[in-house]
């Protein structure tokens, strides 16, 4: 996943799958009334709700002992379209995990435990059969959507078909049988997603084994929506979900409001506990500096964690007065420069290694806010990620596990050996303060080892598709980008960003920006993916090896792994943070 301006997180996964496309706005507008009509019919015609299969406590009882109240989040801007089949932003996902559920989920608890997959609407995590291509899920009974409709296995057929008709990022589910024929005009997954409403089972049939399927089923794209939900984009109307909250309203110009779902009961405290606040409100439109001021003054509860805190307010947050209100966590993310391996000078390995040796990572870290907010890195996988093993060959000194300082002498030597000295290099970055400053530093680093570097700045919304599209390849040599995990799997970095299959010529969705493809490394990637299901320890070892080999091949200048700041009002309890969802909003209360 890559991060765009503050609140917009745009991810691009296209391993030999059609890239996600958005409906034109006018079609989205027409879809809303249709969706509303369908939803109202669904609500009117809902069948018997049935009784819960197991006794459970009411939401208020679950939250007993912690006040309800309203939890107010301040965000600079809204997250765009609210349809969970399409929205790919952390901002909405942090709310969707409280209003919707999928077959599986990430445990709703902070820390490393939060990366674990647990059964959610399914009673258990099934073992695959049929050579890893078939999964049989038993669906929990007695669960209701927020409109009172009972959850049935057939609802998942609609959920997955919508992924293609809306459309959303289809690459996660394009291995379902029948998916290859799906498009925005229609989708029939009756063979790939087989629902049995009498036995309450759901069978997923794949065309090929996918060891990461359980992670992908835990993403909001796979969250259940009622069977009657429109196959088209629902715009700013979110279809009903099964979570402890439901969407009362969403106006991207003002606010989003979540209230308690009266039809919710706890079936798995690990997957979906009852939330503490009675209401969650996310307000839009303030400058980030004003958001911080209001939260510190107690006028709101939380600064949306995707809004970067202005650097001159970081000093304010250092005050001991706010010690309990500021939380810093390491993100599973990379800030890096992709090196254009299609053309000189960086089609030359020595040239790529040279800039890695010359990169002043201390300076990059300072630009981002200092060592408290960023950790320098040389390798692809972020710390504490599956298969991460510290590795940094591009540093002064003898340590190969941690970066300490640039090695300019070695860098200059490599430039001379590569025969690329004096070449012009274009550094492409974004116009925001951080992007511009990082680009200026990269230019200085390149010039210091004998290149003639210049800067080219583009707006964030333009820059990311620009550098992905191979038709622009002649216009840049070094491109600034970032990637945030979709879920904790090494392939999410190593295969998505540096695999041969994610190079899509002339496409704006080609996340392998460097166009890096080495057959020996790709064959190891393929082997690691095959081993995931059958030999996880061997797979983990291979991913580590791939990470180190990719680092040696230097398709990137990896700068740092960022940290994220959560700013909360005083007196907040229950703070929990996961690398998948970041702050768990419904676990918070103000005492």
């Amino acid at each position: 996943m890559t991060r765009l301006p503050a609140t917009m997180l745009r991810r691009s996964r296209s391993r030999q799958r059609p890239p996600a496309r958005r409906l034109p706005r006018w079609q989205a507008g027409l879809a809303v009334p249709a969706a509303l009509a369908v939803l109202s019919l669904a609500v009117a015609g809902c069948g018997s709700s049935g009784k819960p299969s197991s006794s459970s406590s009411s939401p208020s009882a679950q939250a007993a002992g912690h006040p309800g109240g309203t939890w107010t989040i301040l965000a600079n801007s809204a997250f765009g379209v609210a349809d969970p089949a399409q929205n790919y932003t952390a901002e909405e996902w942090q709310l969707l995990i409280d209003t919707h559920d999928g077959l599986t989920g990430f445990a709703k608890v902070g820390g490393a435990e939060g990366n674990k997959i647990v059964p959610d609407l399914a009673t258990s995590i099934p073992k695959p059969t049929n050579g890893g291509k078939t999964y049989l899920f038993h669906i929990r009974r007695g669960i209701e959507f927020s409109n009172g409709q009972t959850l049935k296995p057939s609802d998942f057929v609609t959920t997955f078909e919508r992924q293609f008709t809306v459309p959303g990022p289809t690459s996660f589910y394009s291995d379902f049988v029948g998916a290859s024929k799906c498009s925005t005009k229609g989708c029939n997954l009756s063979k790939g997603v087989v629902a049995n409403n009498s036995a309450y089972t759901l069978t997923l049939n794949l065309t090929a084994p996918d060891p990461e399927l359980m992670d992908q089923l835990a993403l909001p794209f796979a969250f259940a929506v009622p069977a009657g939900t429109s196959p088209k984009l629902t715009g700013n109307n979110v279809p009903p979900g099964t979570g402890p909250y439901m969407w009362k309203s969403y106006n991207p110009n003002t606010e989003a409001v979540l209230v308690r779902n009266p039809h919710f009961h706890v079936w798995s405290a690990q997957a979906q506990p009852a939330g503490y606040p009675n209401e969650i409100v996310e307000k839009y439109g303030l400058q980030v500096s004003d958001e911080v001021t209001e939260v510190l003054n107690g006028e709101a509860n939380e600064v949306y964690d995707g809004d970067p805190i202005p650097s001159d307010q970081l000093g304010t947050l250092n005050s001991p007065k706010y010690a309990g209100q500021v939380h810093v966590n390491t993100l599973a993310a990379d800030y890096y420069y992709a090196l254009n391996t299609r053309r000189p000078p960086f089609n030359n390995l020595q040239a790529r290694q040279a800039i890695n040796y010359a990169a002043n990572r201390t300076a990059y870290v300072k630009i981002f806010g200092g060592p408290s907010l960023a950790v320098p890195t040389c390798q692809i996988l972020p710390p504490d990620f599956p298969s991460y093993s510290p590795y940094c060959p591009y540093t002064a000194g003898s340590s190969h596990t941690q970066w300490t300082a640039p090695d300019l002498a070695k860098a200059k030597q490599l430039v001379q050996q590569s025969g690329t000295a004096g070449m012009k290099v274009i550094v492409d970055a974004t116009t925001d303060q951080v992007g511009k400053a990082l680009a200026e530093q990269m230019v200085a680093d390149l010039n210091s080892i004998g290149y003639k570097a210049t800067i080219q700045l583009l707006s964030s919304s333009v820059q990311y598709p620009f550098i992905q599209n191979s038709s622009n390849s002649a216009k840049w040599n070094v491109a600034y980008s970032q990637w945030f995990q979709d879920y904790p799997a090494a392939s999410d970095f190593l295969n998505v960003l540096l695999g041969c299959g994610t190079i899509h010529p002339n496409s704006d969705a080609s996340p392998n920006i460097a166009a890096f493809c080495q057959k020996n490394i790709q064959s190891q990637i393929n082997q690691a993916e095959a081993d995931e299901a059958t030999n996880p320890s061997e797979a983990a070892r291979l991913w580590t090896q791939i990470d180190h080999e990719d680092t040696n091949a230097a398709p990137w200048v990896d700068m740092f792994n960022p940290k994220q700041i959560d700013v909360l009002s005083s007196g907040v309890h229950g703070y929990q943070w996961t690398s998948v969802w970041n702050i768990l909003i419904d676990r918070l209360w103000q005492g």
Partner: protein, 348 residues
Amino acid sequence: MATLLEQVEVDTELRPAIAGRNPWALAARRLWRNRIAMASLVLFLLIVVLCLAAPLYAHDVAHVNPFVPNLNGHTVVGGKVVPVMQRGGGALRLGETPIGPTWDLSHYFLGADSTGRDVAALLLYGGRSSLLIGIGSAFLCSIAATVVALIAGFFGGTTDALLSRLMDVIWAFPVYLLAISISTELLTHTSGIQIGPLNVSATSLWVPTIIIAFIYVPYVYRPVRGQVLSVVNKEFVEAAISQGASNLRLIFSEILPNVVSTVIVLLPLMIATTILTEAALSFLSIGVQPPNVSWGTIIQDGTDLVYTRPWVTIAPGLMILLTVLSLNVLGDGVRDALDPRAKLRVEG
């Protein structure tokens, strides 16, 4: 006893003859005597000289290269060596704050920006870009507008109608929106802008210069065209026509000298306007591009430091204020000086 008339005649005979002065000399004299206008001119020239001395200041006084980030650098404050970027305090130690003003000319006089560069040196280099673009675009605009106005006013009829409507179309666009649109489009030509045989880099200062000159052409065109229309019907023009003067001669010898004063009055005001426009575009990141700097880019760089290091934005803002103010006051003085109705006490 002599009559009053006889006394005047005697006085006239006794006084030496009054030397005739051309209108430009009279205008210069009027301007010279306008102390406020002169003070403004001196201020403007001082700013220009300071900005021209930017390399001298950066190299020989401050000993910095303001175009290269200096995040890991050190400087001397009060005899102590301190880092240019200072890490936050407290338990969390969030953020890196650049050093503030030292008020020492040789050590970060106005402090550092977010990449550790000397703000004072940047300010002077930025002034070079801002003044170059401001003055260059004002001149280009004035020349283009004058040529178009001369053609439209002289030929009249369909020519005048067409040119005036073209100017109206350009004028109908909100100035800043038009500039933003054109800049954004041209900046995507990352391999340069092809103008015939010429290839202009998208980051060249010519790009904002030409864009700003273009958007303000209608603003100069209108008053100049009005002046052309009033001159073209004068008797001396008719006399020149009757003597067989060609159109080119009429335009350049008869009409242009009589409208150039209008352009001269507008020029200082246009320079002020174009400097402001350049600052606005650069603040929005679509004016001056790195590695060049201007007052607008420095203000933009300082927006994240407004609370802790306000001088990064205040300093370029003050420079813009002083420059624009001096040009506006000078423009008023020039207008007064060139006003033919102004009376002048001529000394013998």
